[in-house]
């Protein structure tokens, strides 16, 4: 497949590696085709520019919502796409290939829909899910706090019942979509210390007690707003409690494994992009009278990159298939997240190396991808947390 990538005004013509996909249905083939069409038409041409300006592409996300790409893993009866994770993750991968901020937005939004979809009452599902899954309303997920992300059970934000409302006070940190989201999932303490005292509320963004702070000046994904959110006596109707008091930690933990697979898929997409770009460059760039891909030093680097990207994809989809089959997949999700994001970091770094000086300047996207890859090793549980999950599973086994 021949592709032209336009990025920062630099056009690289080359042969993009065609990813061999084994999709489970004709429906999935059509979905991936639609995803590529929209990603090529709407994401790829904007990524570099929006990232440089730090602008969040809310309208592009709406286009994805209208196309039905924002609720893919959720049941059709609530407006979702009824797709297995195996397919949903490949959609995320295709989006991340063109623009990580958008794939992350889809993944975070999907996570934000999860509490109501999985633990909400019938009334809550009917009321919220059509607009959540249709992409009319954008979600954010408020779990981490300034003093603790990995140790979620010790979170401090509290909600106190007052009549038919909860009054929420506290500070949440690293909130993707802060200030642009239409609704926030808030994990807060309604009872005893530890995991059993945590509840989940779904609040509208136009609540005067919900105050997004100044955007963090992040190293990458500069198009995606991330900030602390101060909850200052935010009054949230009691019927916005999801799954009952004390169920919050259960909700957060059961969403974690799915979220990790989402990040793994984003990492695979980013890796593939960096690999394809480096291959294309190495075939085009002549030194000493021949394309540099012909030098073993470069060719073997690319071979290792390609092998790791394939392995990362396979590991991620294998974990997704376990999830789809209803089997335990916590350890496999942690392995996929760990391996795919470490791969993304290495492949993006090597892509910069292969482009040499050109890799280090913003005229080519590889330096941006290298900055973006770093985030993936940190979010949804640092890769040290993933190793902890895996080793505990091994110890238990």
């Amino acid at each position: 497949m021949t592709c032209a990538r336009v990025d920062s005004g630099v056009e690289v013509m080359g042969h993009m590696m065609k990813v061999e996909r084994f999709l489970p249905s004709e429906e999935a083939e059509a979905l991936l085709g639609l995803t590529r069409e929209i990603a090529d038409g709407e994401l790829a041409p904007r990524a570099s520019d929006f990232e440089a300006r730090g602008e969040f592409p809310r309208e592009v996300l709406r286009t994805l919502g209208q196309a039905g790409l924002l609720g893919l893993p959720y049941p059709e009866e609530h407006g979702g796409g009824g797709q297995p994770y195996e397919v949903y993750l490949q959609v995320l991968e295709e989006l991340a290939y063109r623009w990580l901020t958008m794939a992350e937005a889809v993944s975070v939004h999907g996570l934000a829909c999860y509490p109501v979809a999985a633990f909400g009452s019938d009334e809550q599902r009917k009321r919220f899910l059509p607009e959540f899954l249709g992409g009319e309303l954008l979600g954010a997920y408020c779990l981490s706090e300034p003093q603790g992300g990995s140790d979620a059970a010790s979170l401090a934000a509290k909600a106190v019942k007052d009549g038919d409302e909860y009054v929420v006070d506290g500070v949440k940190a690293w909130i993707t979509h802060a200030g642009v989201a239409d609704f926030y999932n808030i994990f807060c303490r309604t009872g005893v210390p530890g995991p059993k005292g945590i509840s989940c509320l779904v609040a509208d963004a136009d609540n005067p007690g919900i105050q997004p702070q100044r955007r963090e000046r992040t190293m990458g994904l500069t198009g995606s707003p991330v900030a602390q959110i101060v909850f200052d006596g935010a009054r949230v109707p009691a019927d916005r409690l999801v799954g009952g008091e004390g169920i919050g930690f259960t909700i957060a933990m059961s969403a974690l494994d799915s979220g990790r697979l989402g990040i793994a898929a984003c990492a695979v997409g980013l890796s593939q992009a960096a690999l394809d770009y480096a291959v294309s460059y190495a075939k085009d760039r002549d030194q000493f009278g021949q394309p540099i891909i012909g030098f073993q030093g470069v060719g073997f680097m690319l071979a290792d990159m390609a092998t790791k990207v394939s392995a990362a994809r396979a590991t991620t989809l294998a974990a997704a298939r376990l999830r789809d089959a209803g089997r335990p997949y916590s350890m496999q999700a942690a392995q996929a997240k760990l391996f795919a994001t470490d791969t993304a970091m290495q492949v993006a770094t090597d892509a910069v190396q292969i482009l040499g000086g050109y890799g280090y300047v913003a005229d080519h996207p590889v330096e941006r991808w290298m900055r973006e890859a770093k985030l993936l090793q940190i979010v949804e549980g640092t890769n040290q947390i993933q190793r902890m999950v895996i080793s505990r599973n091994l110890a238990r086994g």
């Binding site: 979905l31 639609l34 069409e37 929209i38 038409g41 209208q66 196309a67 039905g68 893919l72 796409g81």
Partner: protein
């Protein structure tokens, strides 16, 4: 309001296209096939009008059997159903014969408005809407960048080199559109799946009461006599600066009428 949109499957204009050596018609098998780009704008406009006024959108395609790919793709944008006119005898038909066939097909359908792209990227004749209007005895307002329908009155802003003209006709009418009229929507996942189940009615020439000796290459009113491949790109002109490089450069640009 019932709207019919004419949709044509064409060779992708972004690729190298060629004519067949045997009969000098467009080599449709050599290229990637896709929906004529302007037709997407016609569909978008039809869907908008139907959404605003209520109604139904039907696609009408004349083309070989594999044009069903384009029909499904077009249906996935949202139209309700499609009609596919297909017959081996149609191969190589000229614009006049095409208009005869499409007029016959339109005669079998109920419609208040026919929308189409202002031209197709393969033929580029731009005359089909007028031919159809003549055959059907309705008004044709072409080259629209804006369409409004109030009751039976169809008003268009017709795009010109200098600006636009406002034209009005009473429906039923035929309107062709340029790409400035709107931004076509993407299909949605649900509509793609739904499109597989939407009705596509097939007509052969006999169903339309058109005889095979009125259409096809043998009866075409225009003919390709000969063709040649595009000459290969010439090497550029290199001007070496030996003091008077600037002057030589201007001389060259002037000779090519750039300055």
């Amino acid at each position: 309001m019932k709207i019919v949109v004419l949709v044509k499957q064409v060779p992708d204009s972004g690729e190298e296209r060629t004519l067949r050596a045997d009969d000098k018609t467009v080599d449709r098998d050599a290229a990637t096939k896709r929906m004529n780009e302007l037709d997407e704008h016609a569909i978008e406009e039809a869907l908008k009008l139907a959404e605003a006024n209520g109604g139904e959108v039907t696609l009408l395609t004349m083309g070989p059997g594999d044009a069903t790919d384009t029909i499904r793709k077009a249906l996935s944008m949202g139209p309700d159903k499609a009609v596919h006119v297909s017959d081996d005898a149609l191969h190589g038909s000229c614009a006049i014969a095409t208009s005869k066939v499409l007029a016959a097909a339109l005669g079998k359908l109920e419609w208040d408005l026919v929308l189409c792209g202002a031209e197709s990227t393969d033929g580029g004749v731009q005359a089909l809407p007028h031919m159809l209007a003549e055959r059907l005895g309705v008004g044709a307002v072409t080259g629209a960048r804006k369409v409004t329908v109030e009751g039976a009155t169809v008003t268009v802003e017709r795009q010109t080199d200098e600006g636009y003209e406002v034209l009005q006709t009473e429906g039923p009418a035929i309107v062709s559109v340029w790409d400035t009229i709107n931004e076509p929507r993407y299909p949605s996942f649900k509509l793609i799946m739904a499109a597989k189940k939407k009705p596509v009615e097939s007509f052969a020439l006999a169903d339309l009461g058109v005889s095979a000796d009125e259409v096809g290459l043998a009866n075409a009113t225009s003919q390709v006599l000969e063709f040649a491949p595009k000459p290969p790109r010439q090497a550029g002109v290199k001007i070496t600066d030996e003091g008077e490089g600037g002057a030589k450069l201007v001389e060259y640009l002037a000779s090519e009428k750039f300055v």
